[in-house]
Amino acid sequence: MANGRNLRETYPFPALVGQDAMKLALILNIINPALGGVLIRGEKGTAKSTAVRGLAELLPEIKVVKGCRFSCDPDDPEGWCVECAAGANLEAATRKVRVVELPIGATEDRVLGTLDLEGALTEGRRRFEAGLLAAAHRGILYVDEVNLLDDHLVDVLLDAAAMGVNIVEREGISFSHRAKFTLVGTMNPEEGELRPQLLDRFGLCVKVEGLSDPAARREIVLRRMAFEVDPEGFSTRWRPAGRELTDRIGAARKALKLVEVPEEALGRAVDICLALGVDGHRGDLTVIKTALTLAAFEGRTGIEAEDVDRAAELALPHRVRRRPFQEVRFHVLDRLKEERKRARHTEP
C-alpha cells in the first residue's frame, strides 16, 4: 500500500466480496440522495472505507453553475447562492457527484467556511471562504470513524444537516448557502457510540462483519493481492462491471419518480415502526423512501410488502428504541416478531 503508484488507484467497488447490505445501502443512496446517507458499523478491516472510496467511480453526473463555489443547480434559481443570484450570464456545466471527506481532526472553520484571509489583508474586505460543507453540497460527505468526531464538529454538522443550509455567523462573517449532502459515516462501535441526534441523521445503518465463509475469504485475499500487484490492470478488468452498475443506477434514478406507494405499504411501514417503538417520524419516512428506491433499483414500479421489510432492515436498526447503553441491534424483523409474540401473550 505504501507503494506510491497505487495510492491514486482505488479498489473497484464491484470487486468487493460479500458485504451485500453495505453495498446495497450505498447504491440506494446514490440512486436517491433523499435517503439521508448510511452509517456503516463494523470492525476494522472490513472494507468499510474501501467501499466508500470505490463509490466515487459509480457516481452520476450533475448539472452545476459553472464556476460556482456552492455547486448551484442551474435549473433551480430559487435555491441559488447569493453569488449566482447576483450574477449574469451563468453557464451550466456537468461534473461528477463528489465524495468530500471530513477528517475527524478538521477545524470548525474548515468545515463551515471562514473569513478569506487574502481578501481581508489585501483589500480590507470581508469575504467568505467556503468550507467542506460547501464542497459537499449535492454530493457525499464522508466521515471515517464518525464516532470519534469532536463534539463541536458534530454540533455544527447536525445544524447543517438538519435543514440542508449552512448558516455561518462567525468571525465577522454572516453568510449562508445550501449544504445538502448525503452523510456517509463509518465507525467501529467498540471505540464508542454515536450521539443519538447524529445517529438519527443517518438514513440507513448497516453492519459489516468479517466473512466466515472460507471460499469468500480466499477470494478476498486473491483479489486484494491481484489489485496490489497491478492496480491499473485490476481496475481495467473490473471496469465493465462498474459500468454496468452505473447504468443500472442511472436507470433507477430515472425510474424513481414512477414508483408508486400503495396504501398497504404505508400501513406496513407505520405498523413496523410503531411496534418497534421508533422515535419520531423520520424512521417511517425513511423506510418508505428506501422501499421506493429498492423497487426502482430492481426495475419495478410498485412497492411490495417485501420491499418494506427489507427497507426496515436497513432503515431501522439504529432507530429502534434501546435501553440505556444497549447496543444497536440488527435483524430488525426478528425483533419485530419477538415484540409481536410478546404482545400476543400479554393480551388476554
Binding site: 433523499a34 430559487e78 435555491g79 441559488w80 447569493v82 447576483a86 470548525e108 463551515l112 473569513l115 484571509l117 481581508a120 489583508l121 483589500e123 480590507g124 474586505r125 470581508r126 469532536d150 463534539d151 463541536h152 454540533d155 455544527v156 445544524d159 438538519a162 435543514m163 443550509v165 448558516i167 455561518v168 455567523e169 462567525r170 468571525e171 465577522g172 462573517i173 454572516s174 453568510f175 449562508s176 445550501r178 467498540e190 464508542g192 457510540e193 450521539r195 443519538p196 406507494v261 396504501e263 404505508l266 400501513g267 411501514a269 407505520v270 405498523d271 415502526c273 410503531l274 422515535d279 419520531g280 417520524h281 423520520r282 417511517d284 419516512l285 423512501k289 440505556p324 447503553f325 444497549q326
Partner: protein, 663 residues
C-alpha cells in the same frame, strides 16, 4: 450592503414546509402561533425526541409573522412610532427632520447557528467602513438584526454556555450593550426566542429554561393513520416543494390574517376575574419559583383568547395552557429543599415531564441474581437491569452549562489554554493561541487612515491589534470506576446495590459524554476491564456480568489505577480524572508478600493523592456497622475524598458530593 451580505438561510424561505401542513402536534402549533400573536411572550421551547417536526415547525413560523412598520433601511428594524427605542442612526434622522421615512418590512426571523461567535451575536465593528473612513460604527449582530422578530436556536442545549448567557441577558432586558473594539453602543433588541432540543443530548441550563414562557413536550404521533398521513404529505412535499406549498397557500394566508387580527385585538383583551383565580390556584399547586410562570400563563391566555377571536380570556384559556406554561417550572418535590435555595442551581426545575427518557421511561426493575459456573468454582454473577428510581437525582447542573460567573479554577484555565475545540470569542490577552483574524482586523481597522503610507498594503496591522481565539473544548471528564468484586463485598444485595450505583453514574456519564474506564479487582489480581472509552454500553455490559468472589487485592487495584491514569494524563494534561473507588475496604492480598495490606494501600493512596488533578470518591459498600474504624475512613482521609455509603446514595446525598466536586 448588510442585507445583501446577510441572508442567514433566508434563501431557503421559499422551501419551508408550511406549518399548516404539519399533522397533529396541536400543543406545539398552539405555542408557536401564540408567540406570533404576542412576541412579547418572550420565548417558546420545543422539547422532544428526534424527528418530530420540531425544527420544521419552528422555521415555518417565519412565513406567518405579520409585516412590521419600520424606519426604511434601518438594520435594526426600528419602529418609527416608538421614538424612545430608536437606534442612534434613526434617532439622528428623527431629530433632524421629524419622522424618518418608514415602510413595511417582513418581521425578522433569524437562525442562530451553533458555530456562532460572540461578535456575530452582539455585533461588532463595521470593518469596511472603518478601513475606509476611520469611523467606528456598529454592524449589528444577530440580536440587533432580530429586533422585533424571532431568533431560532436549534439544539439550544448544545449552545456554548457563554453565548447562551449573553443571549439570555439581551433577551431579558430587551437591549444590547456593545463595549468593544472602540465601540460603545446600546440599542434595543426586542427578540423572541424559539428553542428546540432533544433531551437525550443533555439538559438545558435552568437559567435558560426559565426564560421561556411556554415549553412543549413534542412526541411522535402514535395513531397509525396520522403517521401514514405524515409520510404521504412529506413525500408530496419532497417531490415538489413549490407545488406542495402552493396547495397549502390558502390555509397559510388564512392563518396570517388571523394572526394580524389577533394582534390588533390583543391590546384590549383582558383576563377575567375567574381566570385570574384559576391562574393563582394553578401556580400555587405547581410551587414554581418566581413569577415568570404566572406572567407567562396570563399573557399566553390572553394571546389565545385573541387568536380565538374572544374579547376576554377566561378559565378555559388558562386551563388549556397551564401545562405548557407551568409544567417545566415544577419544583421537584423529592428534593425536599426550600424553594429559592442555591440547590436550585443543582437540580433544574425538571418536572417528571422533562426528565430524560433514559432514566425514567423504563419501569424500575428489581435486581435479579443469576448464578453462573466459573471454571468449577462458583462465582456469583449479579445482573442489574436498571438503575433504581432513587438514583435519578443525579442530574446536577451540567458541567458545561454553567454561565461564566460560575466558571472556577481549573475549568477556566483549561479553557484559556486550549487550542482545540470551538472558537466562540476572541481576546486581546496573548497566550500563544491562534490569531483571531476577524477580531485583529477589527482592532486595526480604525487606525488604517492614520497608518496608511504611500506604499503600504491595504491594511497595516501592528502588534497591539493582535487578538487570539478563545476555544472551548467540550470534552467530558474521565471517570474511572475501580470496583471491588471480592467475596467480602459479595453479600448478595450489597453488590447488586453497588452495581446499581455505578450504573446510575454511568447513565450520567453518558449524557455528559464523559469517558469511562473500568478496573475490577478480586481473587489474586486487578484487571483493567475497560480502558477509557466513551462507549458506555461496554462498561454497562461488563459491570452487569462482573463476577464476584475471592480475596481483595486493593493495593494492586490502586497500582493499576495509577498506571492507567498516568497514560491518560500524558495524552491530555488538562484532564481532571475522577476515580470512583467502590470497595468495602478489607484488603487481604499484599503487593509484596509479607507486608501489611492495610499500610500498603494507605501508602499508595498518599502517593496517588500527590497529583492535584485527580479527584476521588469512595463508595463504601460495607453495610456501615464499622463506621470510621475501618480502612475506609483512613483511605478517605488520605485521598481527601468524600466517602459515601450506598445508603447515602439512596437518600440523594450524591448531590452534595457533586456540588463539592465542582468547586
Amino acid at each position: 450592503m448588510i442585507s445583501s451580505r446577510n441572508n442567514n438561510g433566508r434563501n431557503s424561505l421559499n422551501r419551508l414546509y408550511p406549518l399548516t401542513a404539519v399533522v397533529g402536534q396541536e400543543p406545539m402549533k398552539t405555542a408557536l402561533l401564540l408567540l406570533a400573536v404576542d412576541p412579547g411572550l418572550g420565548g417558546v421551547l420545543l422539547i422532544g425526541e428526534k424527528g418530530t417536526a420540531k425544527s420544521t415547525a419552528a422555521r415555518a413560523l417565519a412565513e406567518l409573522l405579520p409585516a412590521i412598520p419600520v424606519v426604511q433601511g434601518c438594520p435594526f428594524h426600528c419602529d418609527p412610532k416608538k421614538t424612545k427605542e430608536l437606534c442612534p442612526h434613526c434617532l439622528e434622522l428623527y431629530s433632524a427632520n421629524g419622522n424618518p421615512p418608514s415602510g413595511l418590512s417582513p418581521a425578522p426571523f433569524l437562525t442562530l447557528p451553533l458555530g456562532l461567535t460572540e461578535d456575530r451575536l452582539m455585533g461588532g465593528l463595521d470593518l469596511e467602513l472603518a478601513v475606509e473612513t476611520g469611523l467606528a460604527e456598529l454592524q449589528p449582530g444577530l440580536l440587533g438584526q432580530a429586533n422585533r422578530g424571532i431568533l431560532y436556536v436549534d439544539e439550544i442545549n448544545l449552545l456554548e454556555p457563554y453565548l447562551g448567557h449573553l443571549l439570555l441577558d439581551a433577551v431579558e432586558f430587551g437591549r444590547v450593550l456593545v463595549e468593544r473594539e472602540g465601540l460603545s453602543v446600546r440599542h434595543t433588541a426586542r427578540v423572541a426566542l424559539i428553542g428546540s432540543m432533544n433531551p437525550e443530548e443533555g439538559p438545558l441550563g435552568p437559567q435558560l429554561l426559565d426564560r421561556f414562557a411556554l415549553a412543549v413536550r413534542v412526541k411522535g404521533e402514535t395513531d397509525p393513520a396520522a403517521r401514514a398521513e405524515i409520510i404521504r404529505r412529506r413525500l408530496v412535499y419532497e417531490a415538489d416543494p413549490s407545488a406542495f406549498r402552493r396547495s397549502w397557500m390558502e390555509e397559510t394566508k388564512t392563518w396570517c390574517r388571523r394572526i394580524v387580527a389577533a394582534r390588533r385585538r390583543l391590546t384590549d383583551t383582558i383576563l377575567t376575574p375567574a381566570a385570574r383565580r384559576l391562574l393563582a390556584d394553578l401556580v400555587r399547586q405547581t410551587g414554581a419559583l418566581g413569577h415568570r410562570g404566572d406572567l407567562a400563563l396570563a399573557r399566553a391566555a390572553r394571546a389565545k383568547a385573541a387568536w380565538e377571536g374572544l374579547a376576554e380570556a377566561g378559565p378555559d384559556q388558562v386551563a388549556a395552557l397551564a401545562g405548557l406554561a407551568l409544567d417545566f417550572r415544577r419544583v421537584p418535590r423529592k428534593n425536599g429543599r426550600p424553594a429559592g435555595s442555591p440547590a436550585q442551581k443543582i437540580s433544574p426545575p425538571a418536572a417528571r415531564h422533562f426528565e430524560t427518557p433514559y432514566i425514567t421511561s423504563s419501569p424500575p426493575q428489581l435486581f435479579q441474581a443469576v448464578s453462573a459456573g466459573d471454571g468449577g468454582r462458583r462465582a456469583e454473577v449479579f445482573r442489574v437491569y436498571e438503575p433504581n428510581e432513587a438514583f435519578d437525582l443525579l442530574t446536577p447542573t451540567s458541567r458545561r452549562e454553567q454561565g461564566p460567573r460560575q466558571r472556577s479554577g481549573r475549568r477556566s484555565t483549561r479553557q484559556a489554554q486550549s487550542k482545540r475545540g470551538r472558537y466562540f470569542r476572541s481576546s486581546p490577552e496573548r497566550l500563544g493561541r491562534p490569531v483571531a483574524l476577524d477580531a485583529t482586523l477589527r482592532a486595526a481597522a480604525p487606525y488604517q487612515i492614520a497608518r496608511r503610507g504611500p506604499d503600504s498594503p491595504a491594511l497595516v496591522i501592528r502588534q497591539p491589534d493582535l487578538r487570539e481565539k478563545v476555544f472551548r473544548q467540550k470534552t467530558g471528564r474521565l471517570i474511572l470506576f475501580v470496583v471491588d468484586a471480592s467475596g467480602s463485598v459479595g453479600g448478595f444485595d450489597r453488590m447488586a446495590e453497588a452495581k446499581a450505583a455505578a450504573l446510575a453514574l454511568l447513565s450520567e456519564a453518558y449524557q455528559k459524554r464523559d469517558r469511562v474506564g473500568l478496573i475490577a479487582f478480586h481473587g489474586s489480581g486487578a484487571q483493567v476491564l475497560l480502558p477509557p472509552t466513551d462507549s458506555v454500553e461496554l462498561a454497562r455490559g461488563l459491570l452487569e456480568d462482573l463476577p464476584t468472589g475471592g480475596k481483595t487485592p486493593l493495593a494492586e487495584a490502586l497500582v493499576k489505577t495509577h498506571q492507567l491514569v498516568r497514560v491518560e494524563l500524558a495524552r491530555d494534561p488538562g484532564l481532571t480524572p475522577l476515580i470512583v473507588l467502590m470497595t468495602d475496604g478489607r484488603p487481604n492480598v499484599p503487593l509484596t508478600p509479607g507486608t501489611d495490606p492495610w499500610r500498603e494501600t494507605l501508602n499508595l493512596a498518599s502517593h496517588l493523592r500527590q497529583d492535584p488533578r485527580l479527584r476521588f470518591l469512595l463508595l463504601d459498600t460495607d453495610s456501615g456497622h464499622y463506621s470510621d474504624y475501618t480502612l475506609m475512613g483512613c483511605l478517605a482521609e488520605r485521598l481527601e475524598a468524600p466517602r459515601l455509603t450506598l445508603e447515602d446514595l439512596r437518600h440523594g446525598r450524591m448531590e452534595a458530593w457533586l456540588e463539592r466536586l465542582e468547586q
